[in-house]
């Protein structure tokens, strides 16, 4: 790194680290996200926990105190659900308990229940949690416990089936490669999903700063003073490296926050909401590829955003031009379900090879299938070549177009820009 490039790098680093928008996006967003998740967990509260066996198919969250009136005379004991259900002799008693807020809801098991299955629910005001039939159905099942001789059979009624998903893929033996022992494919997928979100945000946010920085220097005409002091390439490279580092820092903070913040704040329970993510072991081969794709994707978009910055004459124009490549970049997100379902079909393969969509497309495929090595090599190779081409073009456009401040870019000028 030349001295001038280093100075630009250090300056851009300092300047952007003090930017309120950057600080908020990097540190504020994870905190807000955490608070949001924590709030959701809190609102779910203790009621969120299922008082019964975790293998029970009935989700009993939402209602903690309920009453029932049994007009059949068959369900006098709520059994294991005694901590939730209270039996009332008649509806007047249940209604009085409801008005006294001793219970949240009560159910009336009609006299012809055994023939018709009719149960009436009474609640003080509409509440979607109370509409769930899980509680009463589970309680009614409890009433049948005595009738069922076998405890195993009763367990099966509570939880009729446990099942494993097995993906059937073309090619012998590939199915086992999909989900290596000890790894949860859902967890892998969630990790990749989070990676994709963070990658896209990081690419768009930090390269957005890069574009702003280029436009600002062009808009204020400072650019001419700068490039009389150093080569345009040094200026551009210094900026790209500084903002790349800031992007990496942002990504690290976000990922770190997801994993560390709940533990550090004593809200480890929040982690459980992230499901299998935190317990997973990310496939060892995927991490280096993620790093490679992140770096190449960053450089590709840094080059593209620099070109847009050099072509734009105002902060308003930039994002409009940038949409030309930001929209294609998120296409693998739109097709995520398709990629998961049929990762080796032509469209997912194309998306994992085409440079702009490759970073997300390939990582998504890698999460759910074994991608042939030649496809990975081709994808990385094409992406790397595109990065070189875009960087070269960015240097040219940057040098020429920045001097033409105030002049609108026209497509017919493109050959001139390419020639430099």
């Amino acid at each position: 790194m030349s001295g001038s490039m280093l100075r630009v790098f250090a300056y851009e680093l300092r300047r952007n680290l003090r930017r309120k928008a950057y600080l908020f996006t990097t540190f504020g967003v994870p905190v807000l996200g955490f608070l949001l998740v924590m709030g959701m967990a809190f609102l779910g509260g203790s009621a969120a926990s299922n008082p019964l066996d975790s293998t029970d198919m009935f989700d009993l969250r939402g209602v903690t105190d309920a009453g029932y009136v049994d007009l059949t005379g068959e369900f006098d004991d709520p059994g294991e659900l005694a901590n939730i259900f209270t039996r009332y002799p008649d509806e007047d008693a249940a209604s009085a308990a409801l008005e006294a807020e001793e219970i949240q809801v009560y159910y009336v098991i009609e006299a012809d229940y055994l023939e018709t299955g009719k149960v009436r629910v009474v609640m003080p005001r509409f509440n979607i949690s109370y509409l769930s039939s899980n509680h009463i159905r589970r309680m009614l099942l409890e009433g049948l416990r005595e009738e069922i001789d076998s405890p195993e059979l009763f367990q099966r009624l509570l939880n009729p089936a446990t099942y494993n998903e097995i993906r059937l893929l073309p090619g012998a033996g590939e199915d086992t490669a999909d989900a290596p022992a000890g790894q949860n494919p859902d967890a892998q997928f969630m990790f990749v999903y989070i990676f994709a979100i963070i990658l896209l945000m990081s690419l768009f946010v930090t390269n957005g700063y890069l574009m702003q920085s280029v436009i600002e220097e062009k808009e204020t005409r400072l650019i001419e003073i700068l490039i009389s002091s150093l080569r345009p390439f040094e200026l551009l490279a210094g900026k790209i490296l500084a903002l790349g580092l800031l992007g990496l820092l942002q990504m690290t903070v976000w990922l770190g926050s997801i994993l560390l913040l709940p533990r550090l704040t004593g809200f480890g329970g929040v982690l459980s909401m992230l499901g299998p993510l935190v317990d997973t072991v990310v496939p060892p081969g995927l991490v280096p590829l993620m790093v490679v794709y992140f770096i190449l994707a960053y450089l590709l978009f840094a080059g593209l955003y620099s070109i847009v910055g050099a072509l734009s004459n105002s902060m308003r124009e930039g994002p409009q031009y940038a949409a030309v490549f930001t929209l294609p970049a998120v296409v693998p997100m739109w097709f995520m379900q398709l990629i998961i379902a049929t990762p080796n079909d032509p469209l997912p393969v194309f998306l994992s090879l085409f440079p702009i969509t490759a970073p997300l497309g390939m990582i998504e495929r890698l999460a759910v299938t074994t991608v042939p090595a030649w496809q990975i090599a081709l994808s990385v190779g094409l992406l790397a070549l595109t990065v070189v081409g875009v960087m070269w073009l960015a240097g040219r456009v940057f040098r020429v177009q920045t001097l033409l401040a105030g002049q609108a870019f026209k497509l017919k000028d493109l050959p001139k820009l390419v020639r430099g």
């Binding site: 100075r7 600002e216 001419e224 003073i225 009389s228 002091s229 150093l230 080569r231 105030g406 001139k416």
Partner: protein, 306 residues
């Protein structure tokens, strides 16, 4: 006379597509002089300046700066104030000056010290820790000039250095330019303010459509454009003087007249005739030298002198 050359431009040309912006231009800029670069808009001045600064490369020809082809080290010995100039708006003045000084190879400490020193001289001490956006246009102009000379360059190129400045600040910048020249620096000044050129510049280059139209010392060029006439102010019948072919009285209430001389007469012979003619007195007698403004218009309109 042997001059110490700061910039040597030898037959450079530059085209943008089919448009020839600079056409076979040659000139030299000496150390310790103010060199004015004049020309109408679009004449090729900015392109020439950008080629000197290595922002653009000439298609043909050669440019030597400070003793040879320009390189990165030499860029640190040049200061540039472009016409379209700007600064980071939401950054403190001192921070921006230090950064731009660093880009010119200064240490952080030196850049800071020198920035504060220049700001003090420009009576902008209080502005050091203000954001650029908080400064008036005139203050911003002065800061921009300070940035141009911040790294103690040997050559500065200033494009319209006085635009947007009030008379007081114009004087401050003029003094800085003259100081710079006294210390042996070379100054290239591109401007449309002909009065400033007459007052400050030692030599000039006038370009039109990328080609050299005039080049040389300012006084010499003005003399070359002088008509065969004298300006007098005083009493007398000027048309009776021998050697005077025509008289134009100026309507400015100063009894001022332009005397156009016959081909065989000289200013000296007319002065002698005035001195020996009874009833004539003069308070002013000078050659009728045109202003640079007149010369500029004359050249640009294509009426080149013979």
């Amino acid at each position: 006379m042997q001059h110490n050359v700061a910039v040597s431009v030898d037959r450079i040309s530059k085209s943008y597509g089919s448009f020839r912006a600079v056409d076979n231009l040659s000139f030299e800029i000496y150390k310790g002089e103010i060199f004015a670069m004049l020309g109408p808009n679009g004449s090729g001045k900015t392109t020439t300046i950008r080629m000197i600064l290595d922002i653009l490369r000439p298609d043909t020809g050669r440019i030597d700066v400070l003793g040879g082809p320009i390189n990165e080290e030499k860029k640190n010995r040049i200061g540039y104030l472009p016409e379209e100039r700007g600064m980071y708006r939401n950054v403190q003045v001192i921070e921006m000056m230090v950064y731009l000084g660093q880009l010119k190879g200064m240490s952080t400490h030196d850049a800071r010290q020198r920035s504060l020193e220049l700001l003090k001289r420009l009576e902008l001490d209080d502005a050091a820790h203000k954001k650029v956006s908080e400064l008036s246009k005139g203050m911003q102009q002065k800061v921009q000039f300070a940035i141009t000379v911040l790294h103690r360059p040997e050559l500065i190129i200033v494009d319209e250095p006085f635009s947007g400045l009030d008379p007081v600040n114009t004087l401050v910048i003029k003094e800085l330019l003259l100081d710079f020249r006294r210390n042996g620096g070379a100054i290239v000044m591109s401007t449309h303010q002909m009065q400033q050129v007459e007052e400050l510049a030692d030599r000039l280059l006038m370009i039109s459509r990328g080609q050299q139209k005039l080049y040389g010392p300012v006084d010499q060029i003005r003399r070359e454009f002088a008509q065969h006439a004298i300006i007098v102010e005083g009493e007398g019948r000027w048309d009776t003087l021998p050697g005077v072919a025509q008289v134009d009285m100026h309507e400015n209430g100063k009894k001022e007249a332009v005397l156009y001389l016959s081909p065989d007469a000289t200013p000296d012979s007319v002065l002698a005739a005035i001195a020996t003619t009874k009833g004539m007195s003069i308070q002013r007698f000078e050659l009728a030298v045109p202003s640079l403004n007149d010369i500029f218009i004359q050249v640009v309109e294509g009426h080149d002198h013979a």
